[in-house]
């Protein structure tokens, strides 16, 4: 017998005489009473809580803010579909991991954000870039539009395509493995810089 | 309080005391104090002599088969009463949460039915006083500083909440001092105290440290089993802190002539 048949058979035997599956009540879905402005403000406050850099600006200021966020020296990479000009940046053309390791900063767009948890989500399309891009460089500048920010986790789920890879980012990489003391910056970008753009 | 009398209800309520096996054998004063207290509150409590134990010591050790006849005895002794009062959160918890397991194991539907019928009428002492009698001030007098340990089974299995502390706060002359990490287990845990004695003592010593830090004269709890463990540690350390059951405190009244504050 195959392992598959054995395991499925064992599952069925284990469940002989078991009660029916319960009804799942989703009483946790409390409609948010916060205004759009409050949601954006909460997002900014909670991103900052993770020791990320976060700033807010109008659409016409984005390019300037990006230019200020990236280092004067050192290579910067951007995904092909990024809608803002980044001076001196190279477009990702499938750089190897080692090549990316020599890059200092990356600028990407976001797919969505969650105010309750201060999270940005990337689904790694044209404007967010593939996963390695926002991982290997030490500084990640992420531009998110206000209308991409949702109040809580449930609100954002329906916006996502489960078949796309998704990265949920809440602050810079961190560890609390030594004496429970939080240290920002381990393997992922040590600095996360979020620019929230008004719409 | 004196004019409160449940016997004045349309149907006189028959109330039984389940004294618990530990109070019966080791702490009869606590049993006597429950009787004194309830009589003072107008409850003519009876002691069904056929009672033994709730069966928890066996169930918690894994001897569920052995608990079956004990459960039968329990149900036989108390089935005829309107309410059963027990000075133990642990025993009341066992009745509500474990008796169904025991009767299921016995494969005896009649026993299951009778014990399920009885369980909601079994009350821990503070529940009975606050919920059934509707009393907070029991007219007690106890001029001492007191720390209260909530005990895990009263707190979590039974959910007695702040009933015991409300009762204590209403006692004349009593000063209730806050116990830090009060909700932490004392480390007793029935046979755990013997099977894993070292760990049990290590947990208990932290409880004792917190008790001593309050500076209270007396540590009060609603379970004699936990108090035996904590009291044993306090006595071994010659700490001078006494342990008392909630009933022992609530039963005290101002002596004739006024007493000393």
């Amino acid at each position: 017998m195959s392992a598959r048949a054995d395991i499925i058979g064992d599952v069925r035997r284990a469940l002989a005489g078991a009660p029916p599956a319960p009804v799942i009540e989703r009483n946790y879905l409390a409609p948010s009473t916060a205004s759009t402005g409050e949601v954006i403000e909460r997002f900014i406050e909670r991103v900052a809580d993770y020791q990320a850099v976060v700033e807010r600006c109008d659409a016409n200021e984005v390019a300037k803010r990006i230019a200020r966020a990236i280092p004067q020296e050192g290579a910067v990479v951007v995904p092909a579909g990024l809608s803002w000009q980044v001076p001196g940046a190279v477009e990702d053309t499938g750089l190897s991991a080692r090549e990316l390791d020599a890059v200092h900063a990356v600028v990407t767009a976001a797919t969505a954000g969650i105010a309750e948890t201060g999270t940005i989500l990337l689904q790694h399309g044209e404007a967010e870039g593939r996963r390695a891009l926002s991982l290997v460089p030490d500084l990640h500048v992420c531009v998110i539009r206000e209308d991409q920010i949702f109040a809580g986790v449930p609100e954002v789920m329906s916006q996502l395509d489960p078949r796309r890879p998704t990265t949920w980012i809440s602050g810079p990489s961190a560890t609390s493995d030594i004496e429970l003391i939080r240290v920002e910056g381990v393997h992922g970008p040590r600095t996360l810089h979020v620019i929230v753009v008004g719409t | 309080m004196d004019d409160f009398d449940v016997r004045g209800l349309v149907q006189p309520m028959r109330v039984a005391l389940q004294v618990t096996c530990i109070n019966d054998a080791l702490y009869p004063d606590t049993g006597r104090n429950v009787v004194r207290l309830l009589r003072r509150l107008g409850v003519d409590v009876e002691f069904p002599a056929a009672q033994t134990c709730c069966g928890q010591p066996m169930v918690n050790t894994g001897y569920i088969n052995e608990a079956v006849p004990v459960l039968r005895t329990f149900v036989d002794a108390f089935a005829g009463y309107d309410a059963v009062v027990t000075p133990s959160g642990s025993c009341a918890g066992s009745v509500r949460h474990q008796h169904a397991i025991v009767s299921a194991r016995a494969g005896d539907p009649l026993l299951a039915e009778r014990s399920a019928d009885l369980a909601p009428r079994v009350f821990e002492l503070s529940e009975f006083i606050v919920d059934v009698l509707g009393v907070i001030d029991v007219g007690a007098w106890f001029p001492h500083t007191v720390a209260y340990h909530p005990t895990c089974h009263s707190l979590r299995m039974l959910g007695v909440g702040d009933r015991p502390t409300k009762l204590l706060e209403a006692v004349e002359g009593l000063t209730l001092l806050p116990l830090s990490e009060a909700e932490e287990c004392c480390g007793f845990g029935g046979t755990f105290a013997v099977k894993n004695a070292g760990t049990s003592v290590a947990i208990g010593e932290d409880k004792v440290r917190n008790v001593l830090a309050t500076g209270a004269d007396v540590l009060v709890a609603g379970d004699r089993s936990c108090l035996t463990h904590i009291g044993g540690l306090l006595d071994r350390q010659r700490s001078g802190v006494r342990v008392m059951h909630l009933a022992d405190v609530l039963a005290q009244t101002r002596p004739p002539g006024g007493g000393r504050r």
């Binding site: 392992a3 395991i7 499925i8 599952v11 284990a14 599956a21 009804v23 991991a97 390791d101 996963r131 390695a132 991982l135 996502l160 796309r164 890879p165 998704t166 990265t167 949920w168 980012i169 810079p172 990489s173 560890t175 493995d177 004496e179 240290v183 381990v186 393997h187 992922g188 | 004294v19 019966d24 054998a25 080791l26 702490y27 009869p28 002691f47 002599a49 033994t52 134990c53 894994g62 001897y63 052995e66 608990a67 004990v70 005895t73 949460h97 397991i101 895990c152 089974h153 979590r156 299995m157 932490e184 287990c185 845990g189 029935g190 013997v194 894993n196 070292g198 760990t199 035996t228 044993g232």
Partner: protein
């Protein structure tokens, strides 16, 4: 390389050693109380916390009670997404599958994301035997691996080590450790970053577990903090994920429950720094060869236990460890398993079978039944009830052999407590019994605790004498 739990002594003996280690107790006390406070703060923020717990438990019950359907759905969704699905009945089979994938790519090393299940199956040791090095990339796992040590906590496996111990381990075992390394946690983390970067960049094969596997869409989820997970899941060409069959959740939307429950219960954060989800292979992004090993290894045995099956709801948040008074005093090693603490005390007997060893049989007794674990569990596992039920199984498993003193005592108690007159008779000996216990002292009880004075008469006797009217 890393130690093994095989042949661990039964819990009480192992706990005694741990209790004697003052440094360990100080580390544990600090760590568990810190994390308890953080958890309480972020759980208190969510009004709908109880509703989330109820939903979480219900979703997992749905998974378990229809596990066959969900597994088959998961399998075909994974295959549709380009993943290769393997099934493994036990640890050996799972390890063999991973080793074969590595060998097929001529890899002599793999990078690993922290995963409980690969520890459970002893994957590192199995790969080492095949000449394949498995590099742990989570900081705490790295500390454990370099220190030739055993994990002692689900979330923070090196919780028993303080900063100066970590520094010593790094200086001793890490050839590329910076010479002036201090014990500042930030410097230690940086040393780990440098040490592992080269391994991430060159690795061809990565091994992970998964926190969740979405049946409907074939999506796997890894929840982490450091970014080592993202490195492993993204950079190598080949990814093998070993997934316990109970990790399924039915639909994508169900993640909205668990991604709220897990971080708050686990690290006490609103959200962990990184969560990665992926469904099979994505062209031009990440590994182009993706394997998923669906593992039983005792889970169907646990599933067959009517009361115990709820343990399979566990999302390995470790809140129960941090809340447990026993764990706080003795740490994780005493449980003799990668699953320590309250969940370990039930999961190990359920997975391995009661009666399989004295060590396993000692675990259900490693609890005071205080219920603190149940109170914090995000999926409402009634650990105390499962413990009591497993104790009954332990007793039953030993009924045929020579009766232990305890069994004799319980039989006597059964007879005594079944009738009030026998109890009354027995109570005459209370004084004698307590006196004897006190005189012969040094018993488990009296080593550190006094015994109460025996009363002049039992309550029962007093009532008979006075009718309850003094």
């Amino acid at each position: 390389m890393t130690g093994t739990f095989v042949g661990m002594p039964a819990f009480p003996a192992a706990a005694r050693d741990a209790l004697d280690n003052a440094q360990l107790r100080a580390n544990l006390d600090h760590a568990t109380s810190t994390i308890r406070a953080k958890r309480a703060a972020v759980v208190g923020e969510l009004e709908q916390w109880e509703a989330l717990r109820i939903a979480g438990a219900a979703i997992k019950d749905d998974v378990l009670l229809r596990l066959d359907d969900h597994l088959l759905t998961l399998e075909s969704a994974l295959q549709d997404a380009g993943a290769v699905v393997h099934w493994a009945r036990d640890a050996a089979e799972a390890c063999r599958i991973v080793a074969e994938v590595a060998r097929a790519h001529e890899a002599d090393e793999v990078v690993k994301v922290k995963s409980m299940v690969t520890q459970e199956i002893g994957l590192n040791e199995a790969l080492a035997a095949e000449g394949i090095a498995a590099w742990e990339t989570d900081l705490a796992e790295l500390i454990v691996q370099l220190g030739d040590d055993l994990p002692s906590h689900i979330l923070v496996p090196a919780i028993h080590r303080n900063r100066s111990e970590v520094r010593e381990i790094f200086l001793r075992e890490m050839p590329d450790a910076p010479p002036g390394l201090t014990d500042d946690p930030a410097r230690l983390a940086e040393a780990a970053r440098m040490h592992l970067r080269e391994k991430f960049l060159r690795a061809k094969v990565a091994v992970s577990g998964a926190n969740f596997a979405v049946a409907e869409t074939g999506t796997l989820v890894v929840v982490e903090s450091e970014g080592n997970g993202r490195m492993c899941l993204t950079l190598p060409d080949v990814l093998v994920s070993v997934v316990g069959i109970e990790k399924v959740v039915p639909s994508w939307r169900d993640l909205e429950v668990f991604l709220q429950l897990l971080p708050r219960s686990s690290t006490g954060e609103r959200m962990n720094p990184y969560t990665s989800t992926w469904s099979g292979v994505t062209a031009g992004d990440g590994p182009q060869e993706v394997h998923v090993v669906l593992l039983d290894n005792g889970r169907t045995r646990a599933l067959a236990d009517e009361i115990g099956r709820q343990a399979l709801r566990c999302i390995r948040c470790s809140a129960c460890l941090n809340a447990c008074p026993v764990y706080e005093r003795v740490g994780g090693h005493a449980y003799g398993s990668v699953y320590p603490g309250p969940i370990g005390a039930i999961l190990n007997p359920l997975l391995r079978g009661v009666g399989s060893s004295d060590q396993v049989d000692s675990l259900p007794y490693a609890s005071t039944l205080c219920g603190a674990c149940y109170e914090v569990c995000p999926v409402l596992i009634d650990i105390p009830s499962v413990l009591v039920n497993l104790r009954a199984q332990v007793v039953d498993a030993h009924r045929s052999g020579l009766p232990k003193a305890e069994a004799v005592a319980m039989k006597t108690a059964r007879a005594t407590l079944s009738s009030s007159w026998r109890l009354a008779l027995a109570e005459r000996f209370t004084r004698i019994g307590l006196g004897a216990a006190r005189r012969f002292g040094a018993s488990a009880w009296t080593r550190s605790r006094d015994l109460p004075e025996a009363p002049q008469e039992s309550f029962r006797k007093w009532w008979r004498r006075t009718g309850g009217r003094p």
